[in-house]
């Protein structure tokens, strides 16, 4: 049994970083990630960790610094959000392309413009093709647990890819929750000693990192990266099982809630799943066969598993906390639809964009989503395959918003 504490998501993440005690942490503050950096700087100042803390002048430099440190042969971490992740974007591809096992917590936040500091997943969804493993967490406890697991996943011999541990800005990053910390030595034993692969600092065996690879070799490098990503699927599960034996908490690539006998279901990532669980409970009490699937591993995407888990539904709504203007839907919606195409039997699928810029996503609002699904089952028709949940304008013109924000009625 570990130690029970009350912590915000950021504090939980900082505690995990303290226990990981990476050789190098380079970070730049950005809301809502800031207190991760502050807390960690305090650990450094108090000598609680042996980490070299590099307070860089930008996120581009924080990712560049951890790339240098990781290639040098040590465990290196950073943390960011939103614009910071956007500024790192170039370096995300390079971290993955160089196969560096960097681990980075991301407190998800909307992207400008307009500038907004609150939570949505546009930032990390924009980096979904960068070659990073992406794990989305539901709450503070999971953010902590996942960060520890991420070290093992990233550094696994068959993977060697960087990992983003995503948790919703403010909703998780700043709200306080009761959670359990493992003992320091448990974490130390679980993550083990870092094993460097071809480190720059092995000066007896000099290496060239980041060569020029043109049409004759580039493609093979990229293909190998894809293979590493595919192998990560099993590694995520193995690490989850081992962690469950240690902590009693298990998280796989996705989590089901009342799904097996469900007729209608919602698929969502992150903290909104907690709210959706309440809705499922209420609907179940009313005799509605409602279920929920929370996707934790967006990269790698568990294509076959999702097709299997979702095919028995009559109607499914994929909720995306990010949009892709001009596309068929949100990034998760498009991908889930594609996964289901391989299944002979599949539900009617709708896709809702929700919660952008931290728009509160309440029990009432998510209830309207299940009502949409019930209507689809009743009528056998899909009126709106893509919809925006709780926003002024558009087809609904804030109809559902009234359920969420009473004052919206006045400003509609």
């Amino acid at each position: 049994m570990g130690k029970l504490i009350a912590a915000t998501g950021n504090q939980a993440v900082a505690q995990a970083m303290r226990q990981i005690d990476p050789h190098v942490v380079a970070a730049y503050p950005i809301t809502p990630q800031t207190d991760v950096v502050e807390e960690f700087a305090a650990f450094v100042a108090d000598g609680v960790v042996a980490t070299e803390f590099v307070p860089v002048e930008s996120e581009h430099s924080s990712m560049s610094t951890v790339i240098g440190a990781s290639a040098a042969g040590v465990r290196a971490m950073t943390a960011t959000s939103s614009q910071g992740l956007a500024l790192m974007w170039e370096m995300l591809y390079i971290a993955a392309g160089l196969r560096l096992p960097i681990v980075m917590p991301v407190a998800n936040r909307a992207l400008s413009a307009p500038i907004n500091i609150h939570g949505d997943q546009s930032d990390t969804m924009g980096a979904r093709d960068s070659g990073w493993i992406q794990l989305y967490c539901k709450n503070q406890q999971e953010a902590y647990d996942t960060l520890i697991q991420a070290i093992r996943i990233a550094e696994h011999d068959s993977v060697r890819l960087p990992v983003m541990v995503c948790y919703d800005g403010f909703i998780v990053s700043h709200s306080l929750a009761g959670m359990e910390l493992l003992e320091d030595d448990q974490v130390k034993a679980f993550i083990g000693k870092h094993k460097a692969l071809h480190p720059l600092l092995d000066t007896k065996n000099p290496v060239t990192y980041g060569p020029l690879a043109l049409f004759d070799y580039y493609f093979e490098f990229r293909r190998q990266l894809v293979e590493g990503m595919a192998r990560a699927a099993n590694v995520i599960e193995e690490v989850a099982e081992e962690y469950a034996r240690l902590s009693g908490r298990y998280y796989g690539r996705y989590e089901k809630y009342n799904m097996d006998d469900a007729e209608i279901g919602v698929l969502v990532l992150g903290s909104a799943a907690s709210t959706a669980e309440v809705v499922v409970d209420e609907l179940r009490a009313q005799g509605v066969k409602a279920g929920l699937l929370r996707l934790r591993s967006f990269r790698p995407f568990p294509k076959a598993e999702l097709a299997r888990e979702l095919s028995h539904l009559k109607a499914l709504c994929v909720l995306d906390r990010a949009d892709s203007p001009g596309a068929l839907g949100g990034p998760v919606g498009v991908e889930v639809r594609s996964a289901l195409l391989e299944s002979a039997k599949r539900p009617a699928v709708i896709n809702g964009i929700f919660g952008l810029g931290g728009r509160d996503t309440t029990v009432d609002l998510i209830t309207t989503v299940y009502h949409r699904l019930m209507k689809i089952v009743d009528t056998g028709t899909v009126d709106e395959p893509l919809f925006y949940l709780g926003v002024r304008g558009g087809n609904n013109n804030g109809r559902e918003l009234e359920a969420a924000i009473p004052q919206a009625r006045a400003t509609r």
């Binding site: 190098v24 070299e52 860089v56 240098g68 440190a69 370096m91 060239t208 990192y209």
Partner: protein
């Protein structure tokens, strides 16, 4: 200090032949001169530039020391990460040996896109030597102007047209910008004066903190001259005081070389096709302005060094 040429020739090579730099390129020459100055292992971070693309063509590498290229604008942050990793390993007793760290980029990667990263790394005090090989334009993409391009010079983005004759702005004084970070060692050097350069490199690698070397690097296709003139042009840049050899050691300026006779700038410009138009009578005002800039900067340097 640097020893003689014969002694240097026995030092192990870290950048070996077979690379794809142009004939007459000054960059590999100055890299060798710099690396002769350090006997312990060196890890190099290379910005995206001519040197990078021509020495790391997969599956080959011309580097006998550990070397990393990550991107264009972040070389200082990248080497800062390597150096931080080294310090972390030292702290934990995981590495014994003495290792030095070097970042290298062209003027594009240093004066322009990499300036923020450089400034940050200098301010944080990483122990590394930053080498800028300044060929005065973006040569890797095919001769576009940078903030190191001198007034009046032709480049593909400061072309000589009927309305505008070359670059309309003077170059940025990066050496002084770096010096304003109050780091222990800053120097300007030229591959033509190899002993001066190697001595400066030795000092740079030995200071306990950041050091910066700004080295002029004549470019055959970019400056438009015959390849055999490279070292001569580097020398003329020094002798005209266009590129003075000086150092700032713990805040103290020192002019390392004062030409007996300060040559007129036009002698340096003449062999270079990029300045051809400046010799035309209608552009005499540009030539005069360029000469007076050089004179002003030289006087200022002498004043800073307490020599005037």
């Amino acid at each position: 200090m640097a020893g003689n040429l014969k002694q240097l020739s026995h030092k192990p090579e870290r950048l070996v032949s077979g690379h794809r730099m142009c004939a007459g390129c000054a960059a590999p020459v100055l890299v060798k001169q710099i690396l002769y100055a350090v006997d312990v292992p060196v890890v190099i971070a290379n910005a995206t530039c001519c040197l990078e693309v021509t020495t790391s063509v997969y599956p080959y590498s011309n580097w006998k020391c550990s070397w990393i290229h990550s991107a264009f604008e972040n070389t200082s942050a990248t080497i800062g990460g390597v150096e931080a990793a080294y310090r972390a390993m030292k702290k934990r007793g995981e590495i014994e040996e003495d290792v030095r760290f070097m970042a290298i980029g062209g003027d594009g990667g240093t004066f322009d896109i990499g300036l923020q990263s450089l400034s940050g790394a200098l301010e944080r005090g990483h122990r590394f030597v930053y080498v800028c090989y300044d060929n005065e334009a973006y040569m890797n993409t095919g001769i576009q102007r940078s903030s190191a391009t001198p007034l009046g010079a032709w480049t593909t983005t400061s072309p000589v047209g009927t309305a505008i004759a070359g670059k309309t702005r003077p170059r940025k004084d990066l050496t002084k910008i770096v010096a304003a970070h109050h780091i222990p060692y800053v120097a300007q050097a030229s591959p033509s004066n190899w002993k001066d350069l190697t001595t400066k490199a030795e000092k740079a690698f030995n200071v306990d903190g950041p050091a910066f070397l700004n080295v002029i690097s004549p470019c055959v296709p970019g400056w438009k001259y015959e390849p055999e003139l490279t070292i001569k042009l580097a020398k003329m840049a020094v002798d005209t005081c266009y590129w003075p050899l000086y150092e700032i050691e713990n805040g103290q300026y020192k002019v390392n070389y004062k030409p007996k006779e300060k040559k007129p700038l036009v002698e340096w410009l003449k062999p270079q096709g990029r300045f051809k138009h400046l010799l035309a009578p209608e552009n005499k005002h540009l030539l005069d302005e360029l000469q007076s800039q050089v004179d002003r900067e030289w006087e200022e340097l002498l004043k800073n060094a307490g020599e005037s």
